[in-house]
């Protein structure tokens, strides 16, 4: 899932400064699962911002709503009536950054503000802890590494790791993180495939990643 964290209150207050009638929209997708932008988080942040603005003598109306997903133009269109009726001057989206971008596209004269810092693609480690597992390189080769991704989980993205900074099986840059190459080595031992680690992996073709430009996928069999 896409994982993010809401922006600090101070930054949100600076962002909504000057706007007095706001709609805050959450998302029932990824950001609900990672407790960053679901309906509960919308309620908390909306209340916090209203209180803070009242203290500043600049009261603000913040209405609260949560869409099934914000990465779907059809769901965004459900906001058309309330926006028309309530004349908001800004919409704060607590979805990943795709949300406010879709809102900006759908409502050309509406200020769309990102309430979340979208961080990474990953999964749950345990309740309250999420880790990055995929960097969307566009050509997945984790099967060469026992099912682990060194591009994402090695700080230097080494395909022929580990580096010489891998001390006691921990990553050079953060001793709270396992060196993924140690993990790959142990997995390959369990799979009886350590000899495969002796093959040098050639330079990666990054053109399938964001480095090659913004990407688009078209499925001819599905387009109308």
């Amino acid at each position: 899932m896409i994982i993010g964290e809401h922006k600090p209150i101070r930054e949100l207050l600076a962002m909504i400064d000057g706007y007095n009638n706001i709609l805050m929209v959450g998302c029932k997708g990824c950001v609900t699962v990672c407790n960053a932008g679901g309906s509960k988080e919308v309620a908390i942040l909306a209340a916090a911002l209203r209180i803070a603005r009242r203290k500043q003598d600049k009261p603000v109306t913040i209405d609260e709503f949560t869409l099934d997903r914000q990465c779907e133009p059809e769901f965004i269109s459900w906001l058309e009536d309330p926006v028309e009726k309530n004349k908001y001057d800004a919409i704060v989206s607590l979805a990943c950054s795709i949300g406010p971008q879709y809102i900006a596209e759908a409502f050309e004269t509406m200020v769309a503000l990102p309430g979340l810092n979208t961080s990474f693609m990953g999964g749950t480690v345990e309740h309250g802890i999420w880790e990055e597992y995929c960097a969307a390189c566009g050509s997945c080769v984790i099967h060469n590494f026992g099912g682990l991704c060194p591009i994402t989980r090695c700080a230097k993205g080494l395909l022929n790791g580990p580096c010489g900074g891998s001390v006691d099986g921990r990553c050079e840059i953060n001793e709270d993180i396992d060196c993924v190459w140690e993990l790959i080595y142990r997995r390959m031992q369990k799979l009886g495939q350590v000899h495969r680690l002796e093959e040098s992996i050639g330079a990666k073709d990054w053109s399938t990643s964001l480095s090659g430009g913004p990407r688009r996928i078209i499925r001819e069999d599905l387009t109308v």
Binding site: P8, R10, A47, I51, D63
Partner: protein, 154 residues
Amino acid sequence: MTKEFEPQIIAFCCEYCSYAAADLAGSIRMSYPPNVKVILVPCSGRVDPVYLLHALEKGADGVYVTGCEEGGCHFLTGNLKAKKRVAYIRKMLDEMGIEQDRVQMFNIAASDAPEFARVAKMMTEKIRELGPNPIKGKGTAGPQSDLSVQEGQL
């Protein structure tokens, strides 16, 4: 004659320990300030962080959560979750420009009526010292009910 500020304080008290202590305080005629309005919850872990903010938004001068003593929670870890949620909201209050001490958490055993009374007295005095909720009298309270949103009813 000016009226001295009387704090209005909400206390979320868990059924199995702290509410029982409150009851006991009542039965043995132990007095505690009427400023504290008790709300019964089955467990302090039931308290959603948003209740603490809504209480302040609707005019409470202080809010506190009472749960069982650590290790003695009837639902095992409810009070530990409550502790973390109170800490989270306190940190948020700092960024909002509101005094952190308006929101606190205490652990009170079922038999400890004196502690219940002591906490109620202590919080009342603390909030009296901090003064009225700084947003009282500024703008309207709570989510705008005429514009506010239930699911799908915007």
